[in-house]
Symmetry: C2
Subunit: 129 residues, 2 copies
């Protein structure tokens, strides 16, 4: 009963470290955790506790909040297990899945230009920021 529906590789608990990139990343989807949540769900549905691991440092409150917003906006669905009444699973809607395209494009752009982003930032620091 620890597994979701199918055999699904567990997420890397160190997949995201929100401390590292955040302020320099020029793209945001929704709130702080939304993009990471979407990417965590891209291979299939996940449970609350499965999401908490990879989203390093997220609190229950923030995760709930972010998931509720994604649900409200039609990107994620929430489904409680009915048989056991223990556990909840979150998954992408088609709309949410569609979001992954431009999101990945934005992520890739950021990766490609990471050095330039750092350089620009440091250059600005050095001339008196």
């Amino acid at each position: 009963m620890t597994k979701p529906l199918a055999e699904l590789a567990p997420l890397d608990p160190e997949m995201f470290d929100p401390v590292c990139p955040s302020p320099l990343v020029p793209f945001r989807v929704g709130d702080k955790w939304a993009a990471m949540i979407l990417r965590c769900l891209q291979d299939g549905s996940r449970r609350f506790s499965e999401l908490k691991g990879p989203l390093r440092g997220v609190t229950s409150k923030s995760l709930t909040q972010s998931l509720r917003r994604l649900e409200r906006d039609g990107f994620v669905t929430r489904k409680a297990y009915e048989d056991t009444k223990l556990g909840v699973e979150y998954s992408l809607t088609p709309l949410g899945r569609g979001l992954l395209g431009p999101l990945d494009a934005a992520c890739e752009w950021t990766r490609e230009h990471w050095d330039e982003l750092i350089d620009a930032h440091e250059a600005h620091m050095n001339k008196g920021g």
Copy 2:
């Protein structure tokens, strides 16, 4: 002396109405005005007052703030006229110009799925949000 450098079509003063789309748009670049500023600059450099028009409702403070952040992050350069000492012009850096690609992709995705976004939102409202 009202014109920037070359002959450049003036921006439509009604180009953006931040009241309309904002909360449903799942993508953000920087702060509230950043994406609009980048798109205003895509055809060439613009002066402060040229930006204020199309960015309906922006205050001097918010515009300055947003421009300073874009400058700090290396997406925009600020250049004061030296001959007349009157006027300042803002333009995209190559890095900022590169941002337009994924930004446009995100905008287009939003346009394409606009109806679905509205529907999802309303559906959620109707079942007790």
